[in-house]
Symmetry: C2
Subunit: 151 residues, 2 copies
């Protein structure tokens, strides 16, 4: 995985994969208690008789874990700044999933009004060890050009 990229360094079709993180049942319950307090996300026993047939992470937890993986990978020099995103959760994150994010550059649009930046469309899949897709995201990121050398 490359690090500290600027807009100048990115080409459509480039692909990057982050490190992995293991998600525990406790992680799932802690996040959901704060942000998505529903039995299928907070109570392993009650979750059995729900739509999810067992404890499942909030989609927002999967999104937040994916963001942490992208940020801590150090991919972009000026940070991961999202203008928007489209998300799908084909399957929920489960306890003991080992997740990673595989990203592919799908588009690059230089800003017309601000020559120091552009928008990069990044298609990010959050995958388990068995390549089950937990999240598919198309993110629109503000990415800056490499600063000009001091004159």
């Amino acid at each position: 995985m490359p690090r500290s990229l600027y807009l100048d360094d990115v080409t459509v079709g480039d692909s990057y994969t982050t490190d992995t993180v293991t998600v525990s049942a406790d992680d799932i319950i802690t996040f959901a208690t704060s942000f998505d307090p529903q039995p299928f996300h907070t109570d392993p026993v009650a979750a059995e008789s729900t739509f999810f047939h067992g404890l499942a992470a909030s989609g927002w937890h999967t999104a937040s874990i994916s963001m942490r993986l992208l940020v801590t990978s150090g991919l972009l020099a000026d940070g991961v700044i999202g203008a928007g995103a489209e998300l799908a959760w084909p399957t929920p994150t489960r306890p003991d999933d080992v997740l990673r994010v595989r990203s592919t550059v799908a588009g690059i649009t230089p800003s017309r009004s601000r020559p120091d930046r552009g928008v990069v469309e990044l298609v990010c899949e959050t995958l388990t060890e068995n390549d089950e897709v937990r999240q598919r995201m198309t993110a629109r990121l503000v990415v800056f050009r490499r600063p000009a050398a001091a004159g």
Copy 2:
């Protein structure tokens, strides 16, 4: 705000507004430390000289707060189950923002294969007290029909 709705109770154009929640600088820093550790989300001083010109919440924090408001409002009888969402963050959440979510039903698609459910497209705006839009989300939710009475 109505509570415990089933698919049968929902009509295109219906609109609902949640309670409010106040977001503190500590909330912003705590979330970002776990899920989006970048200086503009974690360090009020360093944030001044960034893209955001001051401490700003992670977009995923705004999304997660919005989810909590939707869930704790008790709108849907069988819970808020997202199949996917489209998000935009026109402005970031700031310390001391008082947020609420205003939702409008934009579409209802009964499932062809499973007569007990459908997908509701809900347009959700996360707004401040001054109606600044912090997040615009179109969510696709799995919503169940009212169970038939026992025969």
